[in-house]
């Protein structure tokens, strides 16, 4: 399965026609499909919270949106997420898990662990449910997320892990 294309097809079936995007290594596999698909309006942004605001405007203007960003950017967008929750804005979020390397030997361990360790808890603090999008089997979660966000009028996240990429930090 070309999972990137399959995800894009499911997004379209969910009525999502606008993708607000800040590039991320975990979701890189779907970038080619989404950028080459004429049915999508893809809006690249400079900062993830900026994208949250754009999604609010798109929704109020009658468009269904997906925000495609990295989990670290989601942490940066807390103010925007509280706003989306308060205004009850449906939004599918495709969130890349970026796995940071362990702390080098001899240094004190990080109290917060790895970014992926607290992604779900961060999202759930804002009332955002999350589902995995890590396998061909998980592609069905796109339809689930699309339906849930319209029903609940709360964002729903799909979490994409990139196990192969380790930033050189």
């Amino acid at each position: 399965m070309d999972r990137g294309k399959a995800i894009c097809d499911e997004l379209k079936k969910a009525g999502i026609n606008h993708l607000v995007w800040l590039t991320c290594s975990a979701t890189h596999f779907m970038h080619k499909s989404m950028l080459s698909d004429p049915d999508f309006k893809v809006i690249p942004v400079c900062r993830e919270a900026e994208g949250v605001g754009i999604c609010v405007g798109l929704h109020l203007g009658g468009k269904r949106t997906a925000l495609i960003v990295e989990n670290a950017g989601i942490f940066d967008s807390g103010n925007g997420l509280s706003w989306v929750a308060a205004w009850e804005i449906p939004m599918v979020m495709i969130v890349g898990y970026i796995r940071r390397p362990p702390v080098p030997a001899g240094l004190p361990p990080s109290r917060l662990g790895l970014n992926r360790d607290y992604t779900e808890s961060f999202l759930s603090f804002f009332g955002i449910n999350s589902y995995p999008l890590d396998s061909d089997e998980d592609v069905k979660n796109v339809a689930l997320a699309g339906a849930e966000t319209q029903r609940t009028r709360q964002p729903v996240a799909l979490l994409v892990t990139d196990e192969t990429y380790v930033p050189n930090m």
């Binding site: 309006k41 754009i54 609010v56 798109l58």
Partner: protein
């Protein structure tokens, strides 16, 4: 320089049925000066009125979208200048009321005030049209053209700092609901 309320009244006179997203200082007066279903108060997340306005402009290409932003607010979201220029919606006007201070929070000056130009930043970000006006008469003379020109347009309006007053917040959520309904096909303005 002019008072903020004078600038807002001038804009209201040429608004017609544009969608107006307003934040910070403009929240004090706009909805009273120019009420209607196409108003949206953006107060929940400071800095993002311009982002919401851009989303609306993309979603509703047949409607003019005006953002009444603050200079401190824009500084929190400068990347939007690049995004606006990149998307280049023809129906978008980004008005920034520049009083040089965080008027609502406590009247403190913006960092670096006097050293930067928001119009300059907009142009450097790729804005095709960026203007700066500090005279009320000139603003009134230019507004008919600005409102009919193809955008996106950046318009910095220099205003006098106002007194610190309690924030007059309407219900932003109610406005959002009203706007959402008003933008649906078949909606009739009463």
């Amino acid at each position: 320089m002019m008072k903020r309320v004078e600038a807002l009244k001038a804009i209201a006179d040429f608004r017609t049925d544009a969608i107006v997203v307003f934040t910070m200082g403009a929240m004090q007066e706009w909805d009273q000066i120019s009420p209607g279903p196409f108003n949206l108060q953006s107060s929940q997340a400071m800095g993002y009125a311009s982002s919401v306005g851009l989303g609306l402009a993309i979603a509703c290409p047949d409607k003019k979208v005006i953002v009444l932003d603050g200079d401190g607010s824009l500084l929190m979201n400068l990347g939007i200048l690049v995004t606006i220029a990149n998307e280049a919606p023809k129906n978008f006007i980004h008005v920034v009321l520049e009083n040089g201070i965080y008027e609502i929070a406590g009247q403190e000056p913006l960092p670096g005030i006097g050293k930067f130009s928001l119009r300059g930043l907009a142009l450097a970000a790729g804005a095709p049209k960026a203007y700066e006006i500090d005279d009320l008469r000139e603003l009134r003379e230019q507004l008919p053209t600005l409102m009919s020109e193809s955008g996106p347009i950046f318009l910095g309006i220099k205003t006098e700092p106002g007194p610190r007053e309690p924030v007059r917040k309407g219900s932003a959520v109610e406005m959002a609901r009203t706007l959402e309904k008003a933008l649906q096909p078949g909606y009739v303005v009463k």
